[in-house]
Amino acid sequence: MLGPTLQKRWDWRAAGNFICGGTGSGLLVVAALLSALGLHTTGYALLASAFVATGLGLVWLEIGRPLRSMNVFRNPATSWMTREGMVAMLLLPLGILTFFTGSTSLLILSAIPAALFLYAQARILHMAKGIPAWRTNAINPLIVTTGLTEGMGVLLIFAGLVEGNVAALFVGYGWIIALSLVFLRGAAWLNYRYSLANNAPEQTLQVLERANIVITLLGIATPLVLLFLGKSYAAYQLPLAAVAGFFMVLCGWFCKYQIIIYAAYYQGFAITHTPARGGGKPGPGLKPGWRLPQ
């Protein structure tokens, strides 16, 4: 009871928002980027919007007073949740419009709220001061890079649906971008774990330690190998890209689920001194559940 306890208030529905919202917004940004490189990606805008909308829908299911949900827009001054909601209100119509118009310009335009949305999601976790696994600065690059990587992953999975996209990916910079994203997310993950070392509850570190194996193997190594294989074996580019994309998405979702549901231990309670009782002397304090006394 004294040491950090696991948060139970945000369940799979909240995690679902970070998963869907991150993937969706990441997808829009990546799609816009790749469209600038010549790929046909406006079709992804609908899928991206659907992801984002699903995430927000899940949150709506979780809040205590859904009928008052419009109040969420009341605090743009300091609340990243308000900001997330506001940019979603831009992102969704723009995304849908992009899909129906097939306009690359609109796609690029909608990438702006998408990027903000993704950043807002990162900051939502970052501002949750009660949960050391979230409040670290390193959560921001992690959430952003994984969102983008997941978006890239979705794009790869469905790349075969549009003629020429797969080949274009491996010929041009798309391949490099995908590799870079996997690499950057790997670096962000390392950075995230490094930032928490000795700076988070023991149990948080244990959860992340366990998750590390999965993320390193399936989230970093596997897509890297598959993408290199794709580069080398053109005949298998479609399935290789799809499988690489699958692991890029899966790893991101796994990572966020771990962080939001399992690693999210509260700060816990701590004292810096035990009191001098009567004529006695004071004593040392205690920070239960943390690896090092802070």
């Binding site: 004294l2 205590g64 008052r68 700060q267 035990t274 205690l286 802070q294």
Partner: protein, 217 residues
Amino acid sequence: MTRYVMVADINRCVGCQTCTAACKHTNATAPGVQWRKVLDFEVGTYPNVRRAFIPVGCNHCLDAPCADVCPTLATYKRPDGIVSIDYDLCIGCAYCIQACPYQARDRVDIPNKAYGKQFGQMKHEQKVPHSERRAVAQKCTFCVDRIDYGTANGLTPGIDPDATPACANSCIANALIFGDIDDPESNVSQLLRTHEHFQMHEELETGSGFYYLWERK
């Protein structure tokens, strides 16, 4: 200016939980929800062990992380330092619960039934149902209605019982002391001058309004 804070003299506290119970009565909180409670700390290894009782609850922070994150402005900082919740605005997103490093916040979605569903609500639970608090964020209010009543009627919060939070009123060890830290002559200011003190999680820079006295200077 006025800033109301709580001071806990942990030399005096014996962990009896009278404040916990008094708070539960005054605020009719749900079973399992304690806006004020006293933790039982054990520090050291046998035989060099110490045990300390630490009252906790909302710290009414100056830089309240809960208010910053609240998307609805339901949680807000009053000019007198009290962090309040407008239950009618809150959407129950629970973001503030995650933002609070003092685990001071709860959300309860069902009516109070101390003996469980099968026995229904007792008469006193029906009498003070606080339905406005269902499914939204809740936490220690510093018994803000008493503070407002007191200041409107010339009473001194922390001194006059009708203007003092229930926990401080009830504390049988006089370990919980409430008052205005901006008034250098107030009870709390004097205690802070004469005692060594700490705030919980000072490193998080929340500007906590909850002080723990651990030794007389």
